[in-house]
Every structure is written in structure tokens, then in C-alpha cells.
């Protein structure tokens, strides 16, 4: 098996707790009884949370053995699969929302997965650590690769190969004419509105095809 791509960039979440700052934002964008596909679902905590809060239904996809086992323990539908192979197992527009929570930056084929998300789902929710945060910029100015709470890895052991800033992702979506429905940037778990690309740690986007 290939090594885990289980939500790189953040420490593992305890199975029974919903400690992830982006969950509280995501849940507000999920309609009641929504059909959800969670890509890189880890231990299934987000799906479990959305099932409890919104009666959401659907599946998680996870590559790592430990995540699959934890998801089964959590009672969520989990399918062991490598996201890099795409979402061939899913029909067009099969889901209301497809979520990629803190996994984008670890994927090899970013453009392909985003396109696939909008093929199988009406809407996409993508969250990622903001590389543009001032502390990262400062570390680079000092000549070192950034290590922070949102990017806890060293340059040599990081699974994060496609890091981007809030401004980068804005440009990425604009260039593809995707329509941004919501954008929330968090710092210390709270939304920031002033200079989010400088102060934000975690970016959360909700978008769809135009």
C-alpha cells in the first residue's frame, strides 16, 4: 500500500472528538439530508459529525489502513481507494457535496481531482492550510522552510507537495471559471476578514461550476 495521505498537515483527530476547526464551517454549508462524499475521510469523524448534525448520508474514501479501520469503528461507509486514481467508481452528479478537507496539498494531480469533484458532485468544499500566512512568509525570509501548527512537517518528510496561498487558490478557481459560493479563512479557529492571505491559517472554499 502507498503511504497514508490521511489529512496531512494536521495531527490526527481523536476518533470520538470533533476538534477540527474547519468542521464547524463546513457543517453550515451542508443541507439537511445531503448526500456527501468525503475524500480522504481519515477516521470518518467528519462524516459522523455531518450525519449527526445534518442527517447527511454518503461515503468516505480513504487510502490508509488505519483510517479505514477507524471509519468502520465509527460506523461510517468507507471505501478504501487511492484518490489519485480519480473517482471512476462514482456517477456524474451522484452527490450534493464532495469534500476534500486538508488533503488537496498532498495530492499529485490537483487539477484532476478538483474536476472530478465537480463531476460527481453539485458542489465542492475544499480546505487547505494557507501557505501565505505571515509566519510562513517570515520563516522563508529568514531562509528556512516553514514549520507551523498548520504545516507541522519538515521539508524532507512532508507529504504536502502542492502548497498554495489563499490568493493562489482564488486565481486557480477564477482561471477555471468556477463560482465561489463561500470562502472562509480561519486563524486560531475564528474567521479573519482583514488580509486573510496574511493572517489566515486555514482556508475553506465552497464552489461549483458556473
Amino acid at each position: 500500500m502507498t503511504p497514508s495521505t490521511n489529512r496531512p498537515g494536521t495531527p490526527p483527530t481523536p476518533v470520538n472528538g470533533v476538534g477540527r476547526a474547519d468542521y464547524d464551517t463546513i457543517v453550515q454549508w451542508i443541507a439537511r439530508d445531503a448526500r456527501v462524499l468525503d475524500l480522504g475521510c481519515g477516521d470518518g469523524a467528519l462524516l459522523r459529525f455531518l450525519a449527526a448534525q445534518r442527517s447527511a448520508t454518503g461515503y468516505g474514501i480513504e487510502i490508509a489502513d488505519a483510517g479505514v479501520l477507524a471509519s468502520v469503528r465509527n460506523g461510517v461507509n468507507v471505501l478504501q481507494n487511492d484518490l489519485e486514481r480519480g473517482l471512476a467508481g462514482f456517477d456524474d452528479a451522484a452527490f450534493d457535496v464532495v469534500i476534500l478537507s486538508q488533503t488537496l496539498q498532498a495530492m499529485r494531480r490537483v487539477e484532476a481531482i478538483v474536476a472530478e469533484m465537480l463531476r460527481v458532485g453539485r458542489e465542492a468544499i475544499v480546505t487547505f492550510p494557507n501557505f501565505g500566512h505571515w509566519s510562513h512568509r517570515l520563516q522563508i525570509l529568514r531562509g528556512r522552510m516553514p514549520v507551523s501548527q498548520s504545516l507541522p512537517y519538515q521539508w524532507y518528510d512532508t507529504p504536502n507537495i502542492h502548497l498554495c496561498t489563499v490568493a493562489d487558490f482564488d486565481a486557480f478557481l477564477a482561471a477555471r471559471s468556477y463560482r465561489v459560493l463561500n470562502r472562509v479563512v480561519l486563524a486560531a479557529g475564528s474567521p479573519v476578514t482583514v488580509a486573510p492571505n496574511l493572517t489566515g491559517e486555514l482556508a475553506i472554499y465552497r464552489f461549483r461550476r458556473r
Binding site: R35, R48, A51, T57, D65, V68, V72, N74, L79, G89
Partner: protein, 395 residues
């Protein structure tokens, strides 16, 4: 109401080191009502050999049916009195504290119709003639097996299985239960299986059958009347089958090009793999019935629920309402992971509750019978969720 408590004899006999259901006694259920078969014929009456482990709860809600594959039987777990080495074929999976925990679940193993281990089959006496059925025993299908299992479920007072579980051909039975008896099954565990056999799978089965059919001692299936047994055919059939259960990787690790005693420039077994296959073939030819082998490989070939829906597996699965756990193994080339993914894809299309685990294991198809922490961990977690109540996520 009869009581179907455990057949375990406790720890009075020599218990293996790990926890086991202990000493078990097979039972036989006799059925007088005819069973209509897919081939158009009917069995006027039949026996089903079975074993049970654990205790059926008062609500009769904790029963799990374990379906066997090609050459196994109802002896799933434990051992027989006086035969401590005759251990059930899935003893590492089923028992107290094991992934399928007999402290919580009432587990039933049943020998399939047409087999040769106690259920009615070619070696049984045909009541119409007073002699063994032999070649006259009808060709049976997976659906026939499941229909017979449903009769046994009625007899045991099990209106709905908590789960039906099986590997390989056993997984196909679980799939069929889910499709044709949706009200009688809450969970299906479909392990190392496929939605049907590929041309290559059928090809291997046909070679095995030809080995038996062309054995001069087969006598058109009536070898017993001639006082012989088509051992050569059975041996070759088993050797071919056995290769498909292993992986190249595992064979290389276990045997490689090792020789027994150096090259002898003869056709006596020289390589270890030759001697291993011959041993497996010999053993099999002694205990297995040729007419049974022919029929069970045919049952495999025929299985294809999508034939009823113009080849559309998703539509074939539409009656199924239970939760599914599908498991495959990375080095299984008999029923590769891609075949399990077909089942998963069809279930997803039908918006069914399904989880899928692809287990990294070097042992090929045989991996479903072996101990693997991730594999057993997932199955254990699944049954623990079942025991704890309904899951949180629904499709």
C-alpha cells in the same frame, strides 16, 4: 420451541492455546418438502449438515450464517471429539473473542447441497433408486444453496440473519442472500469474491473438470459401481485449483526453485513445488468426491446475478437493502480486487450502505482464510458495530 444452544463442550477437552469454540458436534436437519432447483428438477427430500456455535438470543436477532467455498464444509470452527487436529476451516475468524465473536453471536455453518460432507449430494442415496445418486445428482446453483439455507434458517427459528458472511464462493452466497432474501439479512460480508466468474476463471474450472471427466476411472460419474475413484482426475483438478489460490509472490517465497534432492533427470517430483502440489492433490483425491467437484465448479461458473437484469449488476443489486462489507486482497488474482470494486460500484450506484477494504496481503486468494491484523480488525470492528446497535451513517 426447541433450544439451539451452543454445541460447545467447554474446556473439558484438550483446548488449543487460543480460545476456541471447543469440541463441536455436527448436526443434520432433514427436509421432507421437495426443493425446486434452478435446473428444473427438484430434490424430493434432502439433508443439510450443519454446526452452530454460541447461543441464539431471546429475540433471535444475533444469528450469523457462514457460507463455505469450494471444498470446505459446515465445520467452520472448533474441533471434533477424538480429533483435535480436525479444526474448522475458519477457526481463526470464528470463536469466543475472535472477529466473529461467538460470545455475542449465534453462528451457523452449513454444508451446501451437492457437497460430500453430510448434506445430500452425489454420494447420498437416491430414495428413488436405493443407490447413490452419483452422476444422476442434479447440477445445483448458488441460488439453490441459498434456498436450502433459508429452509434451515426457518428450522432454526431465524427469521432474519444479523449477517451472512462468506469468502470466495461463500461471498457469492452472501451476495445472493442480499438480493433474493432482502428481508432476511441485515448485513452481508462479501470477502474475496466476484460478481461472476471471468472467462479465465471458467477456463481454469473447465481444465479441472476435464481432468476428472477424462479419467478412465470416472465411468461417466458412476465410478462407485465399478469400485473405483477417478483419483488422477481429482488430483490434477486440485493441483490446478490450488495454483489459482496462491500468489506468484507467495509461491516464490515458499518454494522458489528449491529441489528435494537435486536433479535426477526424471519425471519424479524434483522441485519442492511439484512435490507440494502432488501432496495437495493426493490428499484431496482421498477425501473429495469427483461428482461433487464437477458440480461445485459449475455452480461457480453459473453464478451471475446480473443475467437477470441484462448484465446490469447495479440493477441486479437493487432489491438488496442490507449493509455491505466488501473485502478484497491485493495479491488475489483468482478474484482480483477489481472484481470486488465492481460490486462496490454497483452498490454505490444503488446508494446502498457499503464499506470496502482492500487488504495488503501476499497470500493470493487464500488470504481470506489466513490471519491478517487489518483484515481481522475490520471484520471485528464491523461485528462490534453490529453488536453495539445500528450505525450512524445511512445512505
Amino acid at each position: 420451541m426447541p433450544s439451539f444452544s451452543a454445541t460447545t463442550g467447554g474446556a473439558s477437552q484438550d483446548a488449543p492455546a487460543d480460545r476456541s469454540v471447543g469440541c463441536v458436534t455436527p448436526q443434520v436437519a432433514h427436509f421432507d418438502a421437495p426443493l425446486a432447483l434452478a435446473c428444473g428438477r427438484a430434490l424430493p427430500q434432502y439433508d443439510l449438515a450443519y454446526e452452530t456455535y454460541g447461543t441464539l438470543d431471546d429475540a433471535r436477532s444475533n444469528a450469523v450464517l457462514v457460507c463455505h467455498a469450494l471444498n470446505a464444509s459446515h465445520h467452520v470452527a472448533g474441533w471434533y471429539a477424538g480429533e483435535p487436529d480436525n479444526v474448522g476451516w475458519w477457526d481463526n475468524m470464528v470463536g469466543p473473542g475472535k472477529p466473529l465473536d461467538t460470545d455475542r453471536f449465534f453462528v451457523v455453518g452449513v454444508n451446501n447441497l451437492g457437497s460430500c460432507f453430510g448434506s445430500t449430494g452425489p454420494v447420498s442415496i437416491n430414495p428413488g433408486t436405493g443407490t447413490a445418486w452419483g452422476s444422476d445428482f442434479p447440477l445445483i446453483t448458488v441460488e439453490d444453496w441459498v434456498d436450502a439455507q433459508a429452509q434451515l434458517a426457518d428450522r432454526l427459528g431465524v427469521a432474519q440473519w444479523a449477517a451472512v458472511m462468506g469468502g470466495s464462493l461463500g461471498g457469492m452466497q452472501a451476495l445472493d442472500w442480499a438480493i433474493r432474501y432482502p428481508q432476511r439479512i441485515r448485513n452481508a460480508l462479501v470477502i474475496a469474491a466476484a460478481p461472476n466468474l471471468s472467462a479465465e476463471n471458467i477456463a481454469f474450472n473447465e481444465i479441472a473438470r476435464q481432468a476428472i471427466l477424462t479419467d478412465p476411472e470416472f465411468h461417466g460419474g458412476n465410478f462407485e459401481a465399478h469400485g473405483v475413484k477417478p483419483r488422477r482426475g481429482l488430483r490434477v483438478a486440485r493441483m490446478i485449483g490450488h495454483i489459482t489460490y496462491l500468489s506468484d509472490e507467495q509461491m516464490e517465497a515458499k518454494f522458489g526453485r528449491q529441489l528435494r534432492e537435486g536433479l535426477k533427470f526424471s519425471f519424479a517430483p524434483e522441485f519442492q513445488i511439484e512435490s507440494y502440489l502432488r501432496y495437495q492433490g493426493e490428499k484431496f483425491a482421498e477425501y473429495y468426491d469427483a461428482n461433487t467437484y464437477l458440480r461445485i465448479t459449475k455452480a461457480l461458473d453459473y453464478f451471475d446475478p446480473a443475467t437477470r437484469t441484462d448484465g446490469d449488476l447495479a440493477r441486479a443489486l437493487s432489491p438488496a437493502t442490507c449493509r455491505f462489507l466488501v473485502i478484497s486482497f491485493t495479491t488475489d488474482w483468482r478474484f482480483p480486487a477489481s472484481r470486488s470494486r465492481e460490486i462496490v460500484k454497483a452498490l454505490v450506484r444503488q446508494r446502498r450502505d457499503v464499506s470496502y477494504a482492500e487488504i495488503a496481503a501476499p497470500h493470493g486468494h487464500d488470504a481470506f482464510l489466513l490471519d491478517n491484523p487489518q483484515y481481522h480488525g475490520v471484520v471485528r470492528a464491523w461485528f462490534e458495530r453490529m453488536a453495539a446497535g445500528e450505525p450512524v451513517s445511512k445512505v
